[in-house]
Symmetry: none
Subunit: 225 residues, 2 copies
DNA sequence: TTTAATGTTCACAAAGTATTCATATTTGAC
DNA sequence: GTCAAATATGAATACTTTGTGAACATTAAA
């Protein structure tokens, strides 16, 4: 399986190093940022960051702002680190869509354990086979089977189908699809998606109908009852 | 939407009540068990329990055993409660597939916030579904159901209905509707709204009557008592 | 470097939707 | 009830979005 990328954001390099060392030991790939602005830059420049560990108190742009900004684009899991033990702060964090909230000082081992727990829950690690309505996606093997027959998909087609399946039942705007299957800074034509959807539908046979067009909005993957 | 079921397992009834009260306030349905064996019974007798809050120290069968047992059958999210602050215990918990680990004493509000965070991550709590008088609008899925039957609405119709429902009971002038459902710089005929209202009413069947005309003023969405 | 596969863009056809408009109907004031 | 103004309605038209095939660009493999 590919390495899992984690972005660690803290203004203290000592703290970043501490966290990084423990994550690297568990085979995570660690990216770093020393303030909020940098965090956003790094996040948008790298496509598949799986989790963000975010310090609250930072110069330029604090953790809350970073969290808000990122949440408007992405559902990536976020763990907040803070020195304060203020309950209201913590509740505020959860309202912003934070997944976990850890007070300094903390045990690095436990931080890593929580990272793994959250990634497990968000299907990033663990079972790499998703199966829905006769469609079987093996992320680790980069393989798709439909009704137990292998289907040859290109890289982008695979990514797109995986994104659809992982978000089944949800209406997905072209913008959202671009942000998640392509890079955030992709400046291409949104119609590219249409072309890929067309090819996907063709290759999927009957099951191509599971990808519904929502006119004026985007697409939705849905399996019949 | 259906209520979300949470199973609270603790041998102290005082503790169960505390947790239950806070969960009920947030519209969760709470089931209780006072020891490990009971917890398993309740879990297997109830199909759709969405999350388990599990005390570690209990007579008969402790939290770890319960967790192990349940994990061999189910991926239901589990939050462990414990009096100890022992790191090794906590790591052991995560290894067993625990999602969260909270030390007593804890803030009930924060417990509830963590419950919600985990359920959000496991896609149990979807983006809010608005439901009024038999009309159900799922914005995330871009879907409208009337009396549990899906209704096909066009993009504008969907937006218009959503606007009505989100402002039920309020008299809405055409100008206001134009500014909110259309763009502020929309330069078209206000009669356009009439046409869309007409189509909406048709597609809504009986429930079309919920959109009232306010003569000389605009429209109002209202459900009968 | 060449070749093959994949990804992207584009133009046009096809489908679906929004808007306008003419006419019918309803409403409230007198 | 009558009238004028407002709203409802259906059909025609204008517009937008999407599907599709082919050309072009890019990347990876040979």
């Amino acid at each position: 399986m590919d390495t899992v990328k984690v972005l660690v954001v803290d203004d203290e390099s000592r703290m970043r190093k501490l966290v990084k060392d423990f994550l690297v030991k568990k085979d995570f790939e660690v990216l770093e940022a020393s303030n909020g602005e940098e965090a956003l830059d790094v996040f948008y420049d790298n496509k598949n960051i799986s989790l963000i560990i975010l310090d609250v108190m930072m110069p330029k742009m604090d953790g809350w702002q970073v969290c808000k900004e990122i949440r408007s684009y992405s559902d990536v899991p976020i763990i907040m680190l803070t020195a304060k033990g203020d309950e209201r702060d913590e509740l505020q964090g959860f309202d912003l869509g934070v997944d976990e909230y850890i007070s300094k000082p903390f045990s690095p081992k436990i931080l890593v354990a929580r990272v793994e727990a959250i990634l497990r829950r968000s299907n990033v690690i663990g079972d790499s086979v998703i199966s829905v309505g006769g469609i079987e996606i093996d992320k680790a093997a980069h393989l798709v089977k439909i009704d137990d027959k292998p289907v040859e998909l290109s890289f982008k087609e695979f990514e797109l189908l995986t994104y659809f399946v992982e978000n089944k039942g949800l209406a997905l705007s072209r913008e959202k699809i671009l942000n998640n299957v392509w890079n955030y800074d992709y400046f291409g034509d949104a119609r590219t998606i249409d072309t890929h959807v067309k090819k996907l539908r063709n290759k999927m046979g009957d099951k191509g109908e599971y990808i519904h067009t929502i006119w004026g909005m985007g697409y939705k993957f849905e399996v019949p009852e």
